[in-house]
Symmetry: D3
Subunit: 148 residues, 6 copies
C-alpha cells in the first residue's frame, strides 16, 4: 500500500472518492466514550426530539475523524500531514447516514522555507448518501520534490 | 452544566485550562478501530523503532478529537460550533503522554450576515506534560448577542 | 470543575438532576463485553421474546455504573466515596430508554471515628423518560469538616 | 449453564471463588468511556503521581461491575437479583492487579410478602492477587421455594 | 468452571448447544474496528441495498470468533486446541439474527506421534434463529489419555 | 480499492506481505469482550506466571481474525470467500508481538459444479517480528473465470 507520490505528481483538479460507511448509533456511543463529550445533542434522543433537528446529531470531531479515516488506504512515504484549514461543519450527520469522502487537489506551491519540499492543499469533502457535502476542510501536506 | 454566555460575555484574552488525560496505548487502538486508519505510524511498534521518532505516534485526528473533548464540560445553549481554522500538528504525542487543553478567547467580531450574532475565535491549544503545545487550532463559534 | 464542598455545605433536601442519556443496544454490548456477563436476559432477543418483559433488559450493574457516571461532572476534593447502601433495581431499563440521575442530600452526621469528618448520605435515583425511578441507592460520602 | 437452585438449596456458609482477571489500563479507559467518568483519579497519571496513591486507581463502579461479572457463569432460573446492601470500597485497585470474586451464602429468610419465595444474602468479596478484600457487598436474591 | 475431560471421556455423537446471542449492528462495528476490515459488505448499508443480499452481512471471521466464543464456558485443563478444518461460511448472518453453537463429538483417534494423547474432532455448527447452519467447522483438540 | 482479478489472473507462487500491527493488551481485552471468552489463559496474568508460557497468550480466534483483517485492503468483486482449511495455531502470540500476514497462491482448479468459476487456495501465514509463522491456514476463494 506504500506509493511514493512527489510534489510534482500532484495534478490540480485530480480527485478520488472513497468507499462508503454507514454512521451507526454505535459510532455515536464510541465517539462519546473516546472523547468524553456526552453532550445531549449526541446522546439524548428525548431531548433532541424537542430541538430543531428532531434527533441526535453526530459530533463534528467524529465526522472529521471518520471522514479523514476513510482516506487512509495508501501511505505516501514522501508526504507529511501539516494541518487543516477552513474546517467547516456544513450539514448535520444523523444515525443511519452513509458517508464517503472526496479528495481533490486544490492548489500547490513550493514551500517558502524548505527548498526541497512543497505544500499541497487537498480539498477534503465528506458527502452523505444524497451527495450533500456535510463537512469540508483543506488538508495541507508537506511533500518532497523529486531530486534533480 | 448549562451556562448561557452571550457574545458580549466573551473577554479577549480570558483563558481556562482543562483537566488532564493520559493518552494510552488503548486510545491508539480505539482510534484506529474507530476511524479505520491502521497506518504503521500508529500501530506497528517494530516499524517505528526504525524511524526518527523511535516509537508509535498518535493520530492527528485523535489528538484533535480528544483535545477538543476535554473542553466539553459546559454547554453554552446560545453558541454553535461553526468550524476550525489553522489546525496544526506541532509535536508528536506518544503513548503515556498526558494532555490538557488551554482555551483562550483570541478575537471576536459581529457576524456580517446575522445581525443578532457574532463570531468568536477561541485559540485551542493541546499541551503535554512538559507544557509544550502539541496541537493548535482556532475554534470559531457563532454566538448570540444579547437582546436589547 | 473542582469545587470544594465541606460537610457543613451539604443541605438536607437539596437536589440536582443530571443531563439525560439514551441507553442504546451498543451500551448493552459494551457492558456485556466489559464485565463478561453475556446472560441471555441482556443478549438474546429471541429468548426474551418468550419471557415476561418481551425484550432484552439492561444489566443492573450497567444502570448503576451509567447512572452514577452521569453525576461525575464536578470533583469535590474534600470528599471521598465510602460506599453505597440499599441499592435496588426497581424497574427494567430497555434499549432506547433515556435515563437521568437525581441526587438528593438525604441525611448527614459527624463521623464517629474521625472528628474532622462527616458522613453524607446522598439519595441517588436513576429516572427514565417517564420520570419513573428505575434504580435507587444511597451514596455515602466521607466529607471534611471546615477547620475552625 | 442453567442450574435450578431453590431457596432450600442455599447452605449458609457455602462458598465459591471465581476465575481471576487482570485489570488492565484498557479496562480503565473502557470504563471511563462507558460511564463518562473521566475524573483525573482514573485518567491522569501525572496528577496521580502527586497524590497519596502515586498512580491511577480504578473506578469503584468498575471494580463492582467486573467483580460481579466474574460470577456470571451459571444462570439460576428460579432466582432474581433484588439488590445490594453495604457496598464498600475497601482498598484501591491499580492497573495490573488481578481480581477474583468470592461468594459466600451469609444468611437467608422467607420473604415476608411472598409466601413462595425467600431472600438469600450472598456476601460478595472481590479479592486481589494478595488475597486482600478490595470491595465487599451483600447481594440479595429473591429465590423460589420448592413447591410442596 | 474447570472440568477435566480425558480422551476416553469423549463419546462419539454426544452434543451440546450453547446459549443464544443476538448479533447487533454494534458487533459489526466492533469487529470492523478490531480487525481493520471495513469492506462495504459489512459497513455500507446504501451499497448493500444494491446487492443481492439487500443489507449488510457479518464478517465471516466474526461469525467464527463469536460462534466459538459462545462455547467458552468450561475449561478442560487436559485438552489443547490444535486447529480447525473445513471452516465453511454457509449462510449470511444479518444484523438482528440470533446465533447459538452446537458442538458434536464427530470422531477421535490416538495421536500418531504422542502416545499419551489423542485427537478429537468436534463438529462446530453455528445456528441462527431458524435453526439453519450458517457456519460449520471441525475443531481439533489434542487431549490427554488417562494414565494407566 | 476495487480491483477485478479473475481465476486466470492468479499465479501459483505469487505472494504478498501486509503491513505490520503490534498486538496490544488492549486487543486481548477487546477480543475477550467481543467473543465472551475470558479464559485465564488470555486474561489472568497471575495464573499464567505459573504456567509454561509465563504470560498471557492471545486467543487463537483473535490471531486468525486480525491476521486475516490485515489482508483486507483490496476488494476483488469477482471473488467470494468460500472457507478455510487446515487452520493451525503454531506458536503463541504474546502482548507486544508484531504480526504481518503473508499470502501465497498455493493452487487452483476449475470448480467442479460451477463451469464459470474456479477455486483458488491461498496460503495465509501470520508471522511475528522474528519471521516465525504463528498461524497458518488455507483460504479458499471462489473466483469467476473470464468470459470467452
Amino acid at each position: 500500500m506504500n506509493e511514493e507520490k512527489f510534489f510534482e505528481d500532484y495534478c490540480i483538479g485530480s480527485s478520488r472518492v472513497t468507499a462508503g460507511r454507514t454512521i451507526t448509533e454505535t459510532d455515536f456511543v464510541i465517539h462519546a466514550g473516546h472523547t468524553g463529550d456526552f453532550f445531549p445533542h449526541h446522546m439524548d434522543a428525548e431531548f433532541m426530539k424537542t430541538q430543531a433537528f428532531g434527533q441526535r446529531i453526530a459530533h463534528g470531531t467524529m465526522v472529521f475523524a471518520l471522514g479523514v479515516g476513510l482516506t487512509a488506504s495508501r501511505i505516501n512515504p514522501v508526504a507529511f500531514s501539516y494541518g487543516y484549514d477552513r474546517l467547516r461543519f456544513i450539514k448535520p450527520v444523523f444515525i443511519g447516514d452513509t458517508i464517503r469522502t472526496r479528495l481533490t487537489v486544490a492548489r500547490k506551491e513550493p514551500d517558502p522555507k524548505r527548498p526541497d519540499q512543497g505544500r499541497v492543499w487537498e480539498l477534503t469533502e465528506v458527502l452523505n448518501q444524497r451527495d450533500e457535502v456535510v463537512l469540508a476542510c483543506e488538508h495541507i501536506h508537506l511533500v518532497q520534490q523529486r531530486k534533480h
